[in-house]
Assembly symmetry: C2
Homo-oligomer: 507 residues x 2
């Protein structure tokens, strides 16, 4: 069988730039996973692991010029955005190095014997160990931050797990170059380069999640692709955890008094958030509940002005562009749907941003307008005009799970008047992150961050951004009645590694 | 369609005791789940929730005489064991009440804004909220501790989730009585009794895991039943977490020097552990790697004496008894397998304990002897005699995941001589709890406990016993830029509930 070439493509022209690699066959996937599994103990030393993560950040920064150039050539995301995204990725690698050093993620608990418990408690000492080889599925829209050097890779390496990345076809050249940098960083610490594997190809991705030596998977992408891989992970003879981020509508509710008070500010803020990165964010606000009446009208006017002034942009690939143009037209063609600024095709290679309006009453029961409750990847949002709080509640109750849910309140509502608290209570069951008077785009790398939410936002209750993302790649082990000399150093009485631990009983 | 009766059966005679209920139809499951979902906020107040758990323990203790009597009549587990099991369950309920009061399980993290981060960190405050209605599948072998008032129920209620239990057909009358006690305990705190649902019937169990308003499931039982429910949970339009404990062989390795030093003690200890509760423990040691040669011979002799002296016992039901008799005969009939004490049928209603021996070389490559690497529920263990460390490693490498793995060492090995550390390193990938010079039966309710392990031991990386079991029923939510008056009290600056929190930044 002839090898299937993997091309790097310029989305600004649709033309092939160069052949980067070939798609991995099943045998090649097996080789890559086998190599990673063979060195699964290479990251056992936490100090070395942290140095590796910091070294990777340093080397990525050194290679910034080249990496940003190739990523821009493949994704058209622009130098500024990509430079920022790479900086974010380096910050994230260093944050995980700090987490590795600090050690709380090991979840160490030591129970000294307690004969008074029912049943009596023996000497029990628990910590967490790495799961094994982790498959990482890179996202289209973040060639750095959610791809080869992104949060899944950084958190898995931080947990002590080797990684095999399935590159995204929208940036194969970037993926190869970044993987080479990461392998070089491993080498600098005396770690085998096999802790970083890379494969290309759709079939290779399916082989990867099915491979018996793969112990977990992280994914960022579409509902369709993610669900297929989730299903494959669950159907294995030995199922594995599949932490997928699949899709999100990211609803926004604007109260009547917020619109009355700040219609213009909200309208222009919304325009900025929904068109950022040509609308290619998983946290793009895709459904906005705005009041009917004067305040809402002003908001729509402000949104119209701002979106009209937005230049057309290049999506990550032409298939995505076609899907957007088609999806926008289908939505705009629904009864009672207006397009104050029509979203759709720009020139042959671009799309132009736009938004639709619809009476919220059209969304309170199932029907053809349910299409408006599905994510449309690209610079498009839907403004649903509501007449009553009951209508808002009714639309919210029909939404699938989301990464984020946002509410815009007036100053009085912020201070506790009106139904701000009630709205927050309605939004909390819908999402993993709830925002007030802010926009969901921009996901900080922070301890309290949660980038996840009810399905289909994510397939598990975990997060793919922030410190707790490391928890996904660990499992607890408890040692019972184990003599001091045989215990892992993390669990010995003297605490030779000075780790944070919870200790119960007298000792 | 006629209602299907649910009978309470006496396993000592195989005779029906009484009709307890009827199997729940799909409509009845829907009603039970709907009622639980309607009161999903009933457990929101942590103080009330803790009082409910403590009150439930008190009421269960008050009803001890009746509950133990009915459980014994249905399960034949005996008054002493059942009294201890109920005490354990009450201890567990109170332990979770303490965990609820203490509040660390909420995982509160507060990040004050940090403009120096990349990207800048806004005000972010995270804690965990209950998932919603949890389906609990009761186990056959623990009518209290892993059934209606068991760890899954206690941890889910502690997390703030209503529960619908699918009763085990081996103890439907006990299940009904216990559920009534729990509902009474809810009522005493002014909580709706609907936070505790109960259904009977195999089909009802399948309906339950598929119900759109069920948000998670806990299961203890067989690989076959558990995997079918796991698959159903994963195949839902909205998949849910399924925390199942499915099966475990619980390997034991006895070093040559341990056998030389303590053959008789190890042999009698093993006999006690494998016959405890008529071998009906998920942590029963089912495969023992013992050295060939004189020390191992002494161990087998000691095991023979102790197991021969064990009285025959009643299994939980007659189907289980037939499966055991058949499974024991099939295993004993394999080439090169001997039965120093033949396991199998006792009288018409009992089984007699026994054990098999086999050269470990028979288990180092796949073949008909793989049957010996499958759990056989009941009083039977397999002693594999090994000639070399390589043989031990080879057999261990072929084992599926386990709840426990045990090693017996000599005093010198305990002190760090020989290959004790190496053996622990070989056992750690196999199990969630590793024991030295102890027996796996007896699972303490403790902070450092981990009752889980690689598949099929459990279907997730979580535990069903110990404090961290509560984590299974929660999901994080982060609030961004949310004004103080609108924040949940848990996340307000003043910390009005005095909860343990991690705070970053200046504030």
């Amino acid at each position: 069988m002839a090898a299937v070439p993997v091309w790097s493509v310029d989305p600004r022209t649709g033309k092939r730039r160069e052949q980067v690699a070939v798609e991995a066959t099943a045998a090649e996937v097996d080789r890559e996973v086998g190599a990673a599994h063979a060195v699964r103990d290479a990251l056992a030393d936490r100090a070395v692991r942290a140095a590796f993560l910091r070294g990777a950040a340093d080397l990525l920064e050194e290679a910034r010029g080249d990496l940003v150039a190739v990523a821009d050539a493949e994704t058209a995301l622009g130098q500024a955005r990509l430079t920022g995204e790479l900086a974010r990725s380096c910050y994230q690698l260093r944050s995980f190095a700090d987490i590795v050093d600090e050690g709380s993620f090991l979840g160490i608990v030591i129970d000294h014997p307690d004969p008074s418990a029912t049943p009596p408690i023996p000497d029990l000492r628990r910590y967490k160990v790495p799961l094994g080889v982790i498959a990482v599925y890179a996202a289209s829209n973040f060639p750095f931050a959610f791809s080869v050097p992104g949060g899944d890779t950084a958190s898995a390496l931080a947990a002590g797990c080797p990684v095999v990345v399935k590159a995204h076809p929208d940036h194969p050249a970037t993926s190869e170059q970044v993987a080479a940098v990461l392998r070089r960083a491993a080498g600098q610490q005396g770690i085998s380069a096999d802790v970083i594997g890379l494969v290309h190809g759709f079939d290779a991705g399916v082989e990867l999640v099915r491979h018996p030596l793969v112990s977990g998977a992280g994914f960022t992408g579409s509902i369709r692709g993610g669900r297929a891989l989730f299903d494959a992970a669950a159907a294995r003879p030995v199922p594995i955890p599949f932490h997928g981020e699949l899709g999100s509508l990211n609803p926004v509710v604007i109260t009547e008094s917020a619109a009355a008070e700040r219609a213009e500010e909200i309208g222009s803020g919304l325009a900025g958030s929904m068109t950022l990165g040509v609308g290619q964010f998983c946290v793009k606000p895709g459904l906005v509940l705005a009041p009917s009446g004067a305040g809402g009208d002003r908001l729509v006017k402000s949104l119209t002005d701002a979106v009209s002034a937005t230049e057309s942009g290049v999506l990550l690939d032409h298939r995505m562009r076609d899907t957007f143009v088609e999806g926008a037209a289908e939505r705009a063609g629904l009864p009672d749907v207006d397009a104050p600024v029509t979203p759709g095709a720009g020139d042959a290679h671009t799309v132009s941003a736009g938004f639709l309006t619809v009476p919220a009453a059209r969304l309170t029961s199932s029907g053809e307008h349910d299409l408006l409750l599905e994510e449309c990847f690209g610079p498009l949002t839907v403004v649903a005009r509501y007449d009553s709080d009951a209508e808002v509640a009714s639309v919210l109750s029909r939404l699938p799970g989301n990464l984020t849910a946002t509410v815009h309140l007036s100053a009085a509502e912020e201070a506790g008047e009106g139904r701000g608290a009630e709205l927050l209570a309605e939004l909390t069951p819908l999402a993993g992150r709830v925002l007030v008077n802010a926009w969901p785009t921009g996901v900080a790398v922070a301890s309290a961050q949660h980038h996840g939410g009810p399905y289909p936002a994510t397939t598990s209750t975990s997060t793919s951004v922030g410190g707790t993302a490391i928890e996904r790649w660990l499992r607890p082990v408890a040692y019972q009645n184990t003599p001091e000399p045989l215990l892992p150093p993390e669990l010995r009485d003297a605490n030779p590694l000075s780790l944070p631990r919870r200790v119960t009983g007298l000792g």
